[in-house]
């Protein structure tokens, strides 16, 4: 039974509802699921909480969805890459939760691994630890961080087989394998879909049990920016 879905718009209309938390992979536009994000901009949903390192760039990627007013909360580590986020924050139009990048990634890892939370030294004694529980472990202070989980995850990978095993590409990997483990419904957007057996089991980074649906990338990042591509779906 193949997990490949051709109608991305219909898939998102089925899976998304107002008020959900969506995990979105990528470091800026690198490794961002640009096709799923583009389709999200065509879907009528609101009050979304988005967990992503950045909320895209100005007007691009998640920046486009932000400007549609669909995002009410952002959880990430570096919103500076999109000046529209700061503007909306100052106007009180969006709630932001800023986390150190290592804490953001570890919290998602914990969420996917059945861990409720963990203690880290990162941010102890800073403004970002205010109001959080502190515990002394082996003589050093640590701050408690709860796990992060999502209703839906948007993942970008390079290749998938029919079962949903995923292989990533270079630094476009970043948060994607973590987010693939931490949501109830995981949609992977990939550039190449291959037959089962074509991927070497040793190279698979995300085993198929984490993936619910696979869609073909229709927008990819090139040297010239984000461009639409047409590929035959297997």
């Amino acid at each position: 039974m193949s997990k490949i879905i051709k109608d991305v718009n219909q898939l998102l209309r089925e899976q998304l509802t107002d008020g959900q938390t969506i995990l979105v992979g990528g470091f800026g536009l690198i490794g961002a699921p640009l096709t799923l994000i583009e389709e999200l901009s065509n879907i009528d949903v609101s009050d979304l909480s988005i967990v992503s390192n950045n909320l895209g760039e100005k007007g691009k990627g998640l920046g486009k969805v932000l400007n549609q007013g669909k995002i009410s909360k952002g959880i990430g580590s570096y919103f500076t890459s999109n000046p529209d986020v700061g503007e909306r924050y100052q106007k009180g139009e969006i709630e932001l939760q800023l986390l150190p990048q290592g804490t953001l990634s570890e919290s998602i890892r914990a969420g996917g691994a059945g861990i409720g939370g963990y203690f880290t030294k990162t941010s102890v004694g800073t403004d970002l630890a205010k109001g959080k529980d502190i515990r002394v472990i082996y003589g050093e202070e640590y701050v408690f961080e709860p796990a992060i989980k999502g209703d839906v995850a948007f993942i970008k990978a390079y290749k998938a087989d029919q079962a949903g095993n995923l292989v990533y590409y270079k630094t476009a990997r970043n948060f994607n394998p973590l987010m693939a483990t931490a949501a109830k419904y995981v949609i992977a957007e990939v550039e190449h879909i291959v037959e089962d057996g074509e991927l070497d089991p040793e190279e698979i980074v995300t085993p198929h049990l984490f993936v619910d649906a696979i869609v073909q990338s229709r927008y990819i990042l090139t040297k010239e920016g984000v461009v639409p591509v047409e590929r035959e779906i297997v």
């Binding site: 500076t80 924050y89 800023l98 290592g102 990634s105 880290t120 970002l128 590409y169 973590l178 090139t222």
Partner: protein
């Protein structure tokens, strides 16, 4: 070569000289990204928190938009490069597996603690990996201009901006001088070419001990 280096290049060159022996080095955004062009130590392996170890400069023709550093600038693989996810990358950082982090800073206080992630009242809402690097890297080197663009002092008694960590850095390299931090005190150990001790004193608010090579002053 008789090319006059810019202030930023001068700082980057001095930081590069500090990287001796076999080291895993993480470079922050800004001036630290200039360091590789002055590195000729084949045993320095560059780590970038977005998930790569082993980084080289890239030729314009070979740019791949999906191989970038933490500043989203294009880079290239080396012969022994590896890729990993963000959680594994920060496990390397927090877990004490990175030897040196070279970071920019907005302000440094007289105990060597830095502020480099937020300016109150401004739309800078990003911390990235700075706090993780400060708790995890074995040695922290700050690479920054001595003064702001508006000629304001950055090495202060106390930081006005929020601190990045309670851990002091180990070394501060500016276009005026080099400071070392020991037991939460600053020591001026080098003057940059053409800079006088008086100029450093006039442009530094924090107390520091002068300990230039071959002399020990008060």
């Amino acid at each position: 070569m008789n090319v006059k280096l810019s202030r930023n290049e001068l700082i980057a060159k001095r930081v590069a000289e500090e990287l001796e022996g076999r080291l895993i080095v993480n470079l922050g955004i800004g001036i630290p990204t200039l360091v590789p062009q002055y590195l000729d130590n084949p045993e320095v392996f560059l780590h970038t928190e977005n998930g790569m170890l082993g980084i080289d400069d890239v030729e314009e023709d070979n740019i791949d938009p999906n191989i970038v550093n933490a500043g989203k600038l294009p880079i290239a693989e080396t012969k022994n490069s590896s890729y990993f996810n963000s959680a594994e990358s920060f496990a390397m950082i927090r877990g004490g597996h990175v030897d040196v982090a070279v970071l920019g800073a907005l302000q440094v206080d007289e105990t060597g603690k830095i502020a480099n992630w937020a300016i109150p009242g401004k739309n800078i809402i990003g911390v990235g990996g700075a706090m993780d690097l400060l708790v995890g890297a074995k040695k922290i080197v700050v690479a920054m201009t001595h003064l702001t663009k508006k000629n304001q002092i950055k090495i202060k008694k106390q930081c006005e901006f929020p601190l990045t960590s309670t851990r002091p850095v180990d070394m501060i390299v500016t276009d005026y001088a080099v400071f070392r931090v020991k037991n939460e005190e600053l020591y001026l150990t080098e003057l940059m070419p053409g800079v006088t001790l008086e100029e450093v004193k006039e442009n530094t608010e924090a107390n520091f001990t002068v300990q230039l090579k071959g002399e020990e002053v008060y």
